[in-house]
């Protein structure tokens, strides 16, 4: 059973979002998503300052077998990316909601994201 923390927001495409104290939004992929992908061996992230449009592909996570797009869950500007993933992409597998975060974005939390219960229902029905 994959973990779905109650404190986060989610997208149907398996990204999670967390509003930080400074107003920025941290983005990653869910435990369910990393488990489906299997061992990650490469993560391609956008540069700081890049403008993201909600719904567009903004990053790529690659497992041994397949590459998967990560979709921007909000419109905004990249404030930071997790550069530890360059040499240790497995952090996404090991700690998807912590050390395996992907991006920090300046923008507003979109109103149409899912809460934990709705995301859990989505993955359990899949």
């Amino acid at each position: 059973m994959s973990q779905v923390p109650d404190t986060l927001r989610y997208t149907p495409t398996h990204e999670w979002l967390r509003q930080e104290a400074d107003g920025s939004i941290t983005v990653g992929i869910t435990d369910h998503a990393q488990a489906q992908l299997g061992d990650l061996v490469y993560v391609e992230l956008p540069a700081v300052g890049k403008a993201l449009t909600a719904g567009d592909a903004c990053a790529v996570v690659e497992s041994v077998k397949a590459a998967a797009d990560v979709y921007a869950p909000l419109t905004g500007t990249v404030l930071a990316f997790n550069d530890a993933l360059a040499s240790a992409p497995e952090l996404v597998n090991q700690d998807p909601y912590g050390a395996g975060w992907l991006l920090r974005v300046a923008g507003a939390l979109p109103p149409d994201t899912l809460d934990a219960a709705a995301y859990r229902a989505l993955t359990e029905s899949a």
Binding site: G38, D39, V41, Y42, E44, V60, E62, V64, K65, A67, A86, E90
Partner: protein
């Protein structure tokens, strides 16, 4: 194909019990991994892993003209192998395109075992039967047999005590590419990982007990995912990717499986292959290794000086190499630096001679990693 229509090996229930992630492969429901493909890859490089390869087709060929017949249908010459030895070679069409790559074990003067790719079973058997006219041979599919591949530096040490007592003397000191037979058991010191080990052909009913005994002895179950990264690092070709019936052995790095001598042996495809050899094949196989971080994928264009000179036939991430690696089909004579187009980026890479890894050790010089 719906999962309930997929074929199941005799170990299917044990795969499910071990928590395998299953995936369809050539009409079979096969284990992709049992939790971590990378851990399984490293276990085979460092210790021992066991693969269920019962989906591969086995067929026996016997009769007074079995040797004569195989010398006609295979580009490698079975006259070169003594009883108890194996040969890796190809089945060619008249244009020298590869119908399949296969292992042939000679079990006697006029008795052989063929091991064929699962996806090519029907095509191979139809071709082999069509070519039988005029030869006194009998082709017998052995669908009642299973096959386990035990691979890794510890594979033989761990597997030997678990084999039937009558086989142990036969496997003791078995040379590479040699095999021991006892009843319906055939153990070949062959494999598809670049490591030492066995491929064990055995009655389906005996396979679950051997599988469980291997696991209890510390052999790790490994799925098709690890099988693919291991074989790619070993520089071994995969049918349908690195070769198919439009590609000749000379164009995909399998020229060594062709035996040109004796000159009078007229194997199917020989004339077309000889003409291509005389003219010089226009394309060849090459290994590539990324100079930056990333993963390579099948089909990716390979470029030199901004011009596409070929494409990747296999691509991935080499867990032991620690880089993106691939096999490519490119214009003859290509070498040095190149770029590989992955999505919208062109990644710097170098041509290298496979294997990337053999017997646990890196076999290529890795260029220093650059950031792009």
């Amino acid at each position: 194909m719906p999962a309930d229509l997929l074929l199941k090996t005799p170990l299917h229930a044990l795969h499910l019990a071990a928590g395998a992630r299953m995936a369809p492969f050539a009409g079979w429901d096969m284990p992709l991994h049992y939790g971590s493909q990378l851990d399984e890859h490293h276990a085979v490089r460092a210790g021992a892993g066991v693969f269920d390869v019962s989906h591969m087709a086995q067929a026996d060929l016997s009769g007074p003209q079995a040797d004569h017949y195989l010398r006609r249908v295979l580009c490698g010459d079975v006259a070169r192998i003594a009883s108890g030895k194996a040969l890796y070679t190809c089945l060619l069409n008249e244009q020298a395109g590869i119908i399949d790559d296969l292992l042939v074990y000679r079990l006697g003067a006029d008795r052989f075992r063929l091991v064929l790719n699962a996806a090519r079973r029907e095509a191979d058997l139809a071709w082999l039967r069509a070519g039988q006219a005029g030869f006194d041979v009998v082709l017998t599919p052995r669908d009642e047999l299973a096959m386990l591949a035990v691979q890794g530096p510890q594979a033989r040490t761990l597997a030997d005590p678990l084999l039937p007592a009558a086989l142990r003397a036969g496997v003791a000191g078995l040379a590479r590419f040699a095999a021991a037979e006892e009843g319906d058991w055939l153990v070949g010191r062959t494999g598809y990982t670049g490591e030492d080990g066995y491929e064990i052909m055995l009655p389906a009913a005996a396979a679950p007990a051997l599988w469980q005994a291997l696991l209890q002895a510390g052999v790790r179950p490994a799925g098709l995912g690890a099988r693919d990264t291991l074989r790619l690092e070993a520089g071994l070709s995969l049918y349908g990717h690195d070769m198919d019936d439009t590609v000749t052995p000379l164009e995909c790095g399998l020229g060594w499986t062709v035996h040109w001598e004796p000159a009078q042996r007229d194997f199917i495809g020989r004339a077309a292959l000889a003409a291509q050899r005389a003219a010089g094949p226009g394309r060849q196989r090459a290994g590539v290794v990324l100079v930056c971080r990333g993963v390579l994928r099948d089909g990716a264009p390979v470029l030199q000086d901004g011009r596409q000179i070929g494409h990747l036939t296999s691509g991935g991430f080499g867990p032991t190499v620690g880089r993106g690696i691939g096999l490519a089909r490119v214009e003859a004579g290509a070498g040095g630096a190149c770029t590989i187009r992955i999505r919208d980026r062109e990644l710097p890479a170098r041509f290298v001679n496979p294997p990337f890894v053999r017997d646990g050790a890196l076999r290529v010089d890795l260029p220093p990693l650059v950031e792009v």
